[in-house]
Symmetry: C2
Subunit: 320 residues, 2 copies
């Protein structure tokens, strides 16, 4: 195959989330030529979901006139080795779903699966803030907390494909109960958007003059907390300080594990900017052994949130 | 060079500890043909130490009549990339010591350095309980707590060579003060021999009938605690249960990081056998997400403690 032929090939990157599934047609330079999304949560049967995906992608593929090299998928609990999604709590399909096989058969091309955070880490390594890095950790702070870990230039999958569940590590023994895992004091219970909302609801009760008290219980979310912080609200700012403290403590532990060159933060929560970044950095440094201090970068993702996972997933297709 | 020549080559493995330094002459099959030790703590000047080492090893090397392929060294805070020992709290030499360069020059062969726990992990991977494994974590439970992490078949060194300081991760926020780092609640503060001794001293005060109360404060150590546990002493058994709980919680966090096939426990503390293994396994499993449960091996090292680091260090020499 000549280089010319290769450059006319395209890959499909798919990012499956609990609510929506985003897809993109990506060329070898990491340019997304077309993209779109379909709902995930309206298909209790995975076959219906794959049919929806096929119906959405077929016209785009036809129009591109390109050969499709392969499909890469990032999904919660996606297993790179087996191509299956296993017991994903936030997806409508229960048990073990052979997703890569089903998609590969429907589209008649090879399909590679990994978890959503790993896909985003690959996207960041190839096209974003981790370009050229051989050792970094990507932490996704969204509805949940995910992670993708790269060491020696390769994603760490572990012996079974499930490595990198840093959101479920326990950072406060006997701490806040997690709403779905039942664990006490996990990183996700504090530093996800869900966790931030819980913290804000606790803290506004201690600050009777807080702007957060102008909202109904069900209205509070991490975006509202950010808006209140911007207006100088103490309870809102304290919410981010506390979140950053917990995150910083957790990052210090992760750094003493794999000694990454940088930690890349990703996901909706980073919209809070310095409100979250400053306390995170402070407590990360404070909890490190001296040999690790002042040398690990702590930066935000350079990719649009939707793009990173699509790009990373598409990169899997080029490698397969 | 023919295979015959290679088989008559030998490597030197050196394991530098705070008190003693062990060395061995090792063949390509991992057989230790000669070994010995010299004191570490009697040489405040590293040049004196290297001269002692040379004086001890020279006759053995001469006698073997073999060509020395290289020297591998495992040492606390040993950096694989730079060949330096950096700010090791338990060694007599302060600051940054270019140990690989100094030894290489003195012996006139190449010298490779890594930290002691990494060396032990390589020894275990080549000749011990981790044979054939591509993903495992070795935890050394001695005076301190060290670790060597293997993923995708390679040691994780991190961007700067200092990865794998799991003993310094914080497992109990605001917990026991560490005697040298000043950190609160680190794994080492509880699960090292030093930590176990502290726990036993606390617990014997709550059990007035404990056999541990027959000893003076300075006599208590992890060996005495084991002997008392063997005699059925409740405070001693409770000491190991508590130690195992903390260790198990920490291991669960580590598993959710790199998803190893097994965790290998190593070092003096494992002489406590099931007293430490059973509670560790119980709390490790209890703190794992369901997808990680009942599939990670938790086993003791299969190598003699002195041999593992010498073998692992010598393996570095073959690779260089």
């Amino acid at each position: 195959m000549s280089l010319l032929d290769l450059s006319s090939e395209l890959a499909i990157g798919i990012d499956i989330g609990g609510t929506n599934t985003k897809y993109g047609l990506v060329n070898h330079r990491g340019e997304i030529l077309a993209q779109g999304d379909i709902p995930t949560d309206r298909s209790p049967d995975v076959t219906d979901f794959i049919n929806d995906l096929y119906d959405a992608l077929s016209p785009i593929i036809m129009e591109s006139k390109a050969k499709i090299r392969g499909i890469g998928v990032g999904a919660p609990n996606g297993n790179y080795y087996t191509g299956t999604i296993e017991y994903a709590p936030n997806l409508p399909w229960k048990g073990i779903i052979p997703l890569a096989k089903l998609i590969g058969e429907k589209f008649d091309v090879s399909c590679t699966l990994t978890n959503d955070a790993n896909a985003a880490a690959v996207g960041e390594m190839m096209y974003g803030a981790a370009r050229g890095m051989k050792d970094f950790i990507m932490i996704t702070l969204g509805t949940g907390v995910g992670s993708g870990i790269v060491a020696n230039g390769h994603l760490i999958y572990g012996h079974d494909g499930f490595a990198g569940e840093l959101g479920h590590t326990i950072i406060r023994h006997g701490g806040r109960l997690h709403w779905s895992t039942g664990a006490e004091g996990s990183l996700e219970a504090y530093c996800s958007a869900t966790g931030i909302t819980l913290t804000a609801k606790e803290l506004r009760q201690k600050h009777s003059d807080s702007l957060l008290n102008n909202y109904k219980e069900e209205e509070i979310n991490s975006k509202i907390v950010y808006e209140c912080a911007e207006k100088g609200d103490e309870a809102a700012k304290e919410t981010f300080r506390f979140t950053g403290q917990i995150l910083g403590e957790a990052l210090a532990n992760f750094i003493m594990f794999s000694s990454p060159e940088a930690i890349i933060l990703f996901g909706g929560v980073i919209k809070a900017g310095d409100y979250i970044l400053n306390p995170t950095r402070e407590h990360m440094e404070k909890n490190l052994l001296p040999i690790f201090r002042d040398k690990v970068g702590l930066v935000f993702s350079e990719l649009k949130e939707a793009d990173a996972a699509i790009l990373g997933a598409s990169a899997l297709a080029w490698e397969s």
